[in-house]
Symmetry: C2
Subunit: 203 residues, 2 copies
DNA sequence: TGTGCTAACAAACGGTACTTAGCATACCGT
DNA sequence: ACGGTATGCTAAGTACCGTTTGTTAGCACA
């Protein structure tokens, strides 16, 4: 048997598509034109195969969207957990939570664009499940602000309003960030976490 | 002749639709499901007529989108102009410009959602024209921040980054604001213009 | 009364979308 | 060498979409 064969099929004479490639191509096109604005024929064309052949690597167009969205949301919640765990100070928790959130939207632009544009195109029950997960992130961020206000180290009229502003500001990084632009993703993330602290009235 | 007949045809026995009603129904549905996600049959159904009858009041589905987008963008630029004219202080200019921008996104939610989601679905040359107009607003806002930094009353590392953050924060008000929620549009606009000043490092 | 306009309708067209079925071919382990 | 699996293809099915056409009913006005 082959001693160290990786899972990805990369034959000698024939280039072949795998399910990762399909997801990747779909992600690029969904991000550009939206879910309903993208035809599977375009995904197939990007991969150099005919449309029906896509079905060797996926179950349906809707499944592609569900995978993209749910993978992303899980990543966001995991980022959040890792960023704040073991940190007690609300100001530092807010800084770290917004930093990873901003960073993700700069480094995973396509996913972010799709999630924020096409979550409404998910079939039920996936749509409701997604909304619930996103609400969880929203509440967690708001909770940090509320703690900080209680502790006197943050100062806002409404934690809800501030957390909306912070989240959405980060989300839309995906709309303008370019990898070849003047800022690295880390620089943007640092700047934006600073903005977040200012919005939240950190002393 | 009827002494004071208004333009809107409202017959006695027959309910009739006008082009304003078509635009309004389309706006609601485009905002909910997106341009490509909305079928004209759904617009017709919302109006209580059959699909082909829509063509008595519009030229095409694309024309509906173009009207919505261009009306909105013109409104945004006009708001901006009126808000800052005659005001010299960059801090106050920034406050007023972001206030009207935020206010518009709270009071014209549907239009804002469509513009920010479906501008890419415009046919050329409308799409390029729109991008140009939006760039104009972006540059104008950035210019205010640059002035403020030069005058020493604002303080940011990058006016471009700050102006992106401020704009997009305001834009997304349309995503969560509810008329029957805990805040009025004016309250949100005031809060958000405060956030903008904090992002821009106003003293 | 009659004429023209507006706006509704039914029917149909051409196009395209997603998906399934059936089949051919290459690779792989045995 | 051989059978199974994976992957591609063509053809076709089913549904729906945006749009055009031709027609009809009511209203305004002469």
């Amino acid at each position: 048997m082959a001693p160290a064969d990786l899972g990805t099929a990369s034959s000698d004479t024939r280039t072949t598509v795998n399910s990762t490639a399909v997801l990747d191509a779909a992600m690029t096109l969904f991000a550009q034109r939206g879910y309903h604005g993208t035809a599977l024929s375009q995904v197939a064309e990007a991969l150099g195969i005919r449309t029906p052949s896509l079905y060797n690597h996926m179950r349906s167009k809707q499944e592609l969207l569900q995978r993209i969205v749910s993978d992303t949301t899980e990543g966001v919640l995991e980022d959040f957990r890792l960023a704040v765990e073991g940190v007690a100070d609300p100001v530092e928790r807010l800084r770290r939570a917004t930093r990873v959130y901003a960073l993700r939207h700069a480094t995973h632009r396509r996913e972010a664009l799709i999630v924020n544009r096409d979550t409404t195109s998910l079939d039920e029950p996936a749509r409701s499940e997604q909304q619930e997960l996103r609400r969880r992130h929203e509440h967690a961020l708001r909770g940090i602000i509320t703690e900080g206000v209680a502790a006197g180290t943050l100062n806002v009229d409404s934690p809800a309003l501030a957390s909306f502003a912070i989240r959405e500001m980060c989300v839309s990084i995906a709309r303008w960030f370019r990898e070849d632009g003047p800022f690295t993703a880390e620089q943007v993330a640092d700047q934006y976490s600073g903005f977040a602290l200012q919005i939240a009235g950190a002393r």
